[in-house]
């Protein structure tokens, strides 16, 4: 039994978690491990598990479970652990608002409009896909233009094919995975078009999703026009120059009835904005301290809602920590306050968490802006870690032990990733 919806909703909980994906599930287990007793995990979908149910491919859990699982297998393992831990799971319920006193306003299929009080809250709402508006593709507005993740849900869960002849814009992993998925369902995938001179997805997906099926990948090329009145009839694509400007004199047309967009994810922070959390303009997720607490007391955050992760294993790792700290928060066992701010320096887009305490060990997650081989990650003068390579598509994570921070007496520590 993996869908076990509660019938009785209590008025007050120790920890309430908004979002039941891998982040929310791990946070619930983390909170339980620290002695939180009444824990409520809420998801707006009909079952907890998040995006993982639709990611039917292999490639999850190598770090966490030491074996390669599909998305659904990873979700089910976690959900079973959640239920064994007697965590209340409330599905088909939307978290609409949170007051400064941590009262949550819910809209629920079974319970209607409801409020619950929480001693601590964990935000784990995941991310949403960038849409056509985000990159302003010109042309008509026919049906048949959709995001790759939505197409994934149509095909893998609802059993609909989005079209018969498909063009994919953007070489992110979701697009590559969908190129293979649709091919196996008998759909003709005409090609993947990437505006950058390099692919965004993993090499493994380039090989196993495109090369295996002879699907062409056009780098430095983009869609400049979408044609069709009712339904997509064709797209115009063109190569771009170094400044990403399309060269229309070399454009060509491709007949297709569907365009899938695989152009990235953005943290789902409607709720965070509504309650005025401090957000990081680079990640567009909440600013968090080393306990994953946001700018609002007792409100923690983890997973894709904080920053986009490429591997679910790191989502789980970060979220167990957030849950543990939420559990510790309600029992009053608060760790010492952070005393060091991290400043993203050369080739570092962002660091999470945003602050550290010199008295504890931390894992710092970061993303670089450009690839470098044979490089070093430097935390000011106190720590240098050599890496064989860094790539923007692959999150970097560095363990920072307290002994390195002991010798640091400032309040802002700059992080650089430089060539060795």
């Amino acid at each position: 039994m993996i869908t076990d919806e509660i019938r009785h909703l209590a008025r007050a909980y120790d920890v309430v978690i908004s979002g039941g994906g891998p982040a929310g599930m791990a946070a619930a287990i983390g909170a339980r491990s620290q002695g939180a007793e009444k824990i409520l995990l809420i998801d707006r979908e009909r079952e907890a598990g998040g995006i993982l149910w639709q990611c039917i491919h292999h490639g999850f859990g190598l770090h966490h479970f030491g074996e390669e699982l599909t998305g659904p297998e990873y979700a089910q393992r976690y959900l079973e652990e959640v239920l064994e831990n007697d965590i209340d799971v409330l599905t088909d319920t939307y978290v609409c608002d949170i007051s400064p006193e941590r009262q949550l306003k819910l809209m629920s299929g079974r319970h209607g409009i409801a409020v619950v009080d929480a001693k601590a809250v964990v935000l784990a709402m995941g991310a949403r896909e960038r849409t056509r508006g985000a990159i302003r593709i010109p042309g008509e507005r026919p049906s048949g233009v959709l995001t790759a993740g939505l197409a994934q849900k149509f095909v893998n869960m609802m059993g609909y094919l989005p079209g018969r002849r498909v063009v994919i814009l953007g070489s992110g992993d979701i697009g590559l995975i969908m190129a293979r998925r649709l091919t196996l369902e008998g759909v003709e995938v005409k090609g993947v078009f990437e505006i950058m001179p390099h692919a965004n997805g993993l090499n493994r997906n380039i090989v196993q999703c495109l090369h295996d099926y002879d699907i062409p990948l056009h780098l430095s090329t983009t869609v400049v026009d979408i044609h069709g009145r009712q339904r997509v009839e064709k797209v115009t694509v063109a190569p771009v120059d170094g400044a990403l400007k399309p060269d229309l004199s070399r454009a060509w047309d491709i007949d297709c009835d569907t365009v899938l967009l695989s152009i990235g994810l953005i943290p789902e922070n409607e709720l965070s904005r509504k309650i005025d959390l401090r957000l990081d303009p680079v990640t567009s997720g909440p600013v968090v301290n080393s306990t994953m607490e946001t700018s609002m007391n007792g409100v923690f955050a983890c997973g894709n809602v904080v920053h986009i992760h490429d591997l679910v294993d790191f989502v789980s790792e970060e979220s167990v920590l957030a849950g543990r700290n939420a559990g510790a928060y309600i029992t009053g066992r608060r760790p010492p306050k952070d005393n060091i701010r991290l400043l993203p320096g050369d080739n570092v887009a962002y660091c999470v968490p945003h602050t550290l305490s010199s008295e504890r060990e931390h894992i710092v997650y970061m993303r670089v802006r450009k690839p470098i081989e044979k490089c070093s990650v430097r935390f000011g003068e106190v720590l240098e870690k050599k890496l064989r390579y860094v790539f923007p598509a692959e999150m970097v994570n560095i363990k920072v032990k307290p002994q390195f921070l002991e010798n640091f007496h400032g309040d802002a520590l700059r992080v650089d990733v430089v060539q060795r």
Binding site: M1, I2, T3, R46, E47, W53, I56, H57, H58, T70, G71, P72, E73, A75, Q76, V155, N156, M157, M158, G159, R181, T183, L184, E185, G186, L202, N203, R204, I206, V207, Q208, H211, D212, Y213, P371, E373, R388, Y389, F391, A393, E394
Partner: protein
């Protein structure tokens, strides 16, 4: 004298993506070049001699919350058979409830590999 032949592969072991060259003499591999670490050499050999894949797809399910249930091959299968296997699985239909690991098709196309469900689905 047999012809030497060079095949090209992209190593998937890490983001460096080394371009591998595998040279064979018609029967045996003579040399694998272009790798930066041993993992790449091993991958080049495997991809050249016996490329295998795990296939993940879905089948129809009746009486469940969703119209499809995810499935995969219980082990890896020869790359050349992937499309055929996916096609064979398209005709399968099951009835909820289904348990994770349950075979929805056994010994698919004589490969000795089963098609198994990758999640539980309840009857609704």
């Amino acid at each position: 004298m047999s012809e030497h032949h060079v095949s090209h592969y992209l190593c998937i072991g890490c983001p460096l993506g080394c371009r591998l060259e595998v040279e064979d003499d018609g029967t045996d591999i003579v040399e694998v070049r272009g790798w930066d670490c041993k993992r790449g050499e091993r991958y080049g050999r495997e991809e050249h001699t016996d490329p295998r894949r795990v296939v993940a797809t879905t089948v129809k399910v009746r009486g469940a919350l969703w119209a499809r249930i995810p499935v995969k091959t219980s082990g890896s299968v020869p790359k050349a058979m992937v499309r055929e296997i996916a096609k064979a699985v398209r005709n399968v239909e099951v009835e909820a409830p289904v348990r994770l690991g349950a075979a929805v098709l056994t010994d698919v196309l004589g490969t000795g590999v089963d098609i198994v469900a990758t999640r539980d689905v309840e009857r609704v």
